[in-house]
C-alpha cells in the first residue's frame, strides 16, 4: 500500500510539473499581457516600463517560469503546523479504526466525511504560507487572495454536493430497481434535461422563478438573487444568520445540484443495474433472501464503489469553484477570482488557482483509489 501511494505521489508530482509548464506557456502564448490596458493611455509609458521590470516581464520565458516555480514551492512563513497535522493524524487514525472495526457498508462514506472535516480543519487553520507572489491587479498577496475565497467555494460546493448525493443516489437506486417503469422514464428524461441545459439558463431561471416571481406571488422574500450574505450579517443573531445563509445559498446550490444529481442518478442507476444482474445477486435471490436485504446489503455496497471516483473528482473540481454559477449569483468564490484573473491576464493568480485545482485532483484521485480498496476487498495495490 505504502509503495503504491508513493508511486502515485511521484506520478502526481510529474503531472503537476507538466501541468504548470503547459499552462504557463499557454498563458504567455495567448497574446497580450497584464499591462496592455495601460498601453492605451499614452501617458503611462514610463509606468509600464517600470512595472515590466518590477514584475520580471522583461525576462525570458524560461526564467520567468523558473522564478515562478521556485517561489510557488517556497514557504515564506514557518508558523507551527500542529493544527493541520493533528487534524490529518486524527483523520488517519479514525480511518484506520473505521477500516478495522466498522462492518457496515457506509464506512466509505464515513471515511470521506472524516477527511472532508480534516481537510476543512487543516485549511481553516493553515499556518503555512507559500510565496505565490503578488497579483498584477491590485498588488494583493496571491496566497491570501486564493484562500480568502476557498471558504465561500466550499460552502457552496459542499452544500450542492450534499443535495446532489441525497437526492441523486436514492433516485438512481430506485430507477434501477424499477427499471423501465414510468418513474424510471421520468427520471431519465429529467436527468437528460438537466444535463443538456446550460448552467447559465438554470441559474438565471431559478433567479426569475424562485426569487422574483415567488416573491411577487407570496409577498415574502424567500431567496436572494445574488450575494453570499447580507452586508449587515455580522449584526444578526445566530438564527438570523442561518436564515440569511440559506436564503443566499439556496439558489446557487440548487443550480449546481440539479446538474450534479442528474449525473449521480444516471451513474448510480447504471452501476446498480450492473450489480443487480450479476450472478451472486441471482444466487442471493435464489437462496430466498428478502428483496430488501438483497438490494441494501448485497447490491448497494458494490454499486456504490464507482460513485466514489465521481465524488472524489467533484470535490477536487469544487476547489476551482463553480465558475459560471459563482458569476451568475455574485458568489465570492475561487471561480470568480479565476475568471477575473484570466480577464486581467493576471499570471500569478491564474497559475496559483490552476495548480491548486491540479493538486486537488491528484490528491483526491489517490484518496479515491485508497477508498476503493477499503470498500472492495477484491482491489489489491500491487
Amino acid at each position: 500500500m505504502l509503495a503504491y501511494i508513493t508511486r502515485r505521489l511521484v506520478y502526481g508530482l510529474v503531472t503537476l510539473l507538466a501541468l504548470s509548464m503547459i499552462v504557463f506557456s499557454l498563458l504567455q502564448a495567448s497574446g497580450g499581457g497584464p499591462l496592455d490596458r495601460l498601453k492605451l493611455n499614452p501617458r503611462m509609458q514610463d509606468l509600464i516600463a517600470q512595472l515590466t521590470k518590477d514584475w520580471g516581464l522583461d525576462q525570458p520565458l524560461w526564467r520567468q517560469y523558473l522564478t515562478w516555480l521556485w517561489n510557488y514551492v517556497t514557504p515564506n512563513d514557518f508558523s507551527p503546523l500542529w493544527v493541520p497535522l493533528v487534524a490529518i493524524a486524527i483523520a488517519a487514525g479514525v480511518t484506520f479504526a473505521i477500516v478495522k472495526l466498522v462492518k457496515y457498508q457506509w464506512k466509505g462514506a464515513a471515511i470521506l466525511a472524516v477527511w472532508v472535516l480534516a481537510v476543512y480543519g487543516a485549511v481553516t487553520n493553515m499556518t503555512i504560507r507559500f510565496n505565490w507572489g503578488i497579483s498584477f491587479q491590485g498588488f494583493g498577496d496571491v496566497w491570501d487572495l486564493v484562500f480568502s475565497r476557498v471558504g465561500a467555494t466550499f460552502r457552496l460546493g459542499f452544500t450542492a454536493l450534499a443535495i446532489a448525493l441525497i437526492i441523486g443516489i436514492p433516485l438512481g437506486i430506485y430507477q434501477a430497481i424499477r427499471q423501465y417503469s414510468f418513474f424510471d422514464q421520468l427520471g431519465t428524461m429529467g436527468a437528460f434535461l438537466m444535463f443538456s441545459t446550460p448552467i447559465f439558463i438554470i441559474g438565471v431561471g431559478l433567479q426569475i422563478i424562485l426569487a422574483l416571481y415567488l416573491e411577487k406571488w407570496t409577498g415574502v422574500k424567500l431567496f436572494f438573487v445574488t450575494g453570499m450574505n447580507d452586508p449587515g450579517y455580522a449584526n444578526l443573531s445566530l438564527i438570523q444568520r442561518i436564515i440569511d445563509t440559506i436564503q443566499h445559498l439556496a439558489l446557487p446550490a440548487i443550480s449546481i445540484a440539479l446538474i450534479s444529481l442528474a449525473g449521480y442518478s444516471r451513474f448510480q442507476r447504471a452501476s446498480m443495474l450492473e450489480v443487480l444482474h450479476s450472478d451472486y445477486l441471482r444466487t442471493a435471490k435464489a437462496k430466498g433472501l428478502p428483496r430488501r436485504k438483497v438490494v441494501v446489503k448485497h447490491a448497494l455496497r458494490n454499486a456504490m464503489i464507482p460513485i466514489v471516483t465521481l465524488v472524489s473528482l467533484d470535490i477536487a473540481f469544487m476547489i476551482g469553484g463553480a465558475i459560471i454559477t459563482e458569476s451568475i449569483f455574485g458568489w465570492p468564490g475561487v471561480g470568480r477570482l479565476y475568471i477575473t484573473a484570466i480577464a486581467g491576464i493576471d499570471y500569478p493568480v491564474v497559475m496559483a488557482i490552476v495548480m491548486v485545482i491540479g493538486i486537488g485532483i491528484v490528491a483526491m484521485n489517490i484518496i479515491a483509489d485508497i477508498l476503493y480498496g477499503v470498500m472492495d476487498p477484491r482491489v489489491r495495490y500491487d
Partner: protein, 585 residues
Amino acid sequence: MVLLIAFALVAAACSSDDGTGNETTTTTTVAPDTTTTAPPETTTTTEPKLEHPYGGEAIVADDQEPPTLNTFVPGGDNFIVSLIGNAYFVGVQKIDGYTLALIPDVVESLPTVSNGGVVVNDDGTMTVSYQIRDEAVWEDGTPISGDDFQFTLDTILNPDLPIDKTTYEDVVSSDAGAKTFTYTLAAPTAIYELLFGVILPKHQVEGSDFVNDWNDTMWLSGGPFKFDTWAKGEFVHLVRNDNYWGIDEETGQTLPYLDEVTFKFIPETESILNAFKAREVDAINPAPSTEIINTLQALEPEGARVEVLAGSIWEHVNFQFGPGRLDRNPNSCNDNYNMRLAVAQAIDKTVLTDEILAGQVAPLSSFVDAFSPTLSTKAWDQYSYDPAAAAASYAAAVAETGKECSVVFSTTSNNDGRVKMSELFVGMFEAAGIPYENDLEDSSLFFGETLDNGTWDFGEWAWVGGAGLAALISNYDLFDPEAPPPDGGNYYRWGTEDSSVIDDATARFAEVRDEMNATVDDQELVALIQEGENIIADNLVIIPLYARLATAAVWEDEIGNYKHNPTNGGHTWNIGYWYRVDLEG
C-alpha cells in the same frame, strides 16, 4: 450526507469569515442631548422641516470589482475605484453631472488665468494656486491642509512607487500653507486641470507602505462617506462620515443624507438586472444594449427611472499609415487620400447607430463631441454617406496608386457591437464596389500585439473622453507625429518617421499640438483645438462613429437626487446628495 449539509450550513453561520469581516460596525444616529437640566422651553419656536430625510441605505450594483482601492497604483485606475471613491475621495475637482463641467471640490474655486489662480511667469514657468476650503476636514476632524497636497505630490513623485508621474514630474517648486497650496510647472500646460484629483491625508498615510497597505482598506475620508468593510467578491460597505463638511446649498442641510452605502459586485449583467427587478439593489449602470435598455424601460411604470445618455467613450474607425499595414493587407492604399475618402463615403454612420445602439444617439460629427460638444466644429460633417461618390473616389485611388486597393478590417471579435459593425460594413463596402474583408481578433491579441506593431489596415476601437480642456488636449497626443509607440500613443503612425504620410499637414499638426501643450489661455486653446480637429478631419486620419451609450437606472421611489453622469464622474458623482424617498413623510 445530511452531516455534510448541516456542516456546511453551521460552518457558514458560525464562521468568522462571514463576508463582512470580524469587526462589528454599528451606525448610530446621535440623538439630541436630553439630559439637560434646563426647564422645558415654552416658546413657540418650531423646528424647520427638513426638505430631505436623513438615514437609510443605498445599494449600488456594478459588474466590476476593484482590484485595489488605492487609486494611485496600477489597477486603481479602474472605473469602479472612482465610482466607489466618489463617496470618500477628496480632491481639487469633480465633474458636474448636470453640466458635465469641472467644478471645485475641496478648493474654493478652480484656478484659471482670469481668476489669478494660474499665472504664466516671465521665466516661462507657470504657477497654480489652490485655496482650500476652510471647513474641509478629514473624517477624524483634522483640517485638510496644504501639507496634504504636498505629501500627495511627494508620494506621486517617489521614484520607488509605481505611480503615473506624468505632468507631476514637471513641478519645479511648491509651497504649502495651512489652507493654501501653490506649485510651479516648468512650462504652461492646460493639463494642470487634471492634477490633484485625489488628495492623501498626510497624518495617516505618512510612514505606511503605500503600495501594499492601501489595497484592501481606505485612508481617511474627506468625502460624505467613510470606508467600513470590503467583503472580497461581494461588496464594499461605507458608512456616513459625520465630519463631512459639505452642505446641500438648495436645502441648507449638511451632507450626506444616507447613513450607509453598499456597492455590490455582480459580474453577470443578467443577474444585475434581476437583482434590480427584485429591488435588492437601488441603482445600477449596466453596460448598455438595446435589450437591457428595453428591459429597464419596462420597469418605469413600477417606479424605476432610466437614463440613456451619450457617454464619453467614442468609437472610431481609423487607418494605419505605417509599414505594418502591408503585413495585413498588401493592397492597402491608406496613403492615398482618395482611398480614405472612398471609405468615409462608403460608411453609413446612421445605420451603424440604428443597428448597434438602437438609434438611441446620433452619430458623432467629431471626436470633440465626446468631450466638449460646444467646442466642436463638426469637422467630419463634410463627409456624408454616398456609395456612388465612394465608388468614384475608389476608382480615383486605384488610378493614382496603380494597385487593386482593398480594405481589411480589424477590431476585437469579443465585442458584440464591433462584430455587428463588421457585418454591416460588408454590405456598405459592397455597395460602393470596394473590395473588403473582415479579419477580427480577440481583444487580448488586438490590444496586446496588433496595436503595438501597427499590423492592421483599417481598424476600430474606442478612446475615452472626459470633461475639461485638459482631457481634450491629451487626446491630441494620439495623433502626435513625434510620438509613435511604444513610447508614444500615435498608434496610427500618421506622420511618424516610418509613416507613408508625412506632409505639411502632419508638420502643422505637430506644431499645433506643441502650442496646445504650452498655453493655458482658454481662447487660444479653443482656436488650436479646432485647428487640430480640422487637420485630422481634412486628412481623414480617423473617422469618429458614435459615442457609446451610458445607461443608468434607479428606483426613483426609493432614492432621490440621483442623476447619471455619463463622463468619468460616473453615476455616483453626487452620492452625498442621495436620500431615501421612502423616509419622507
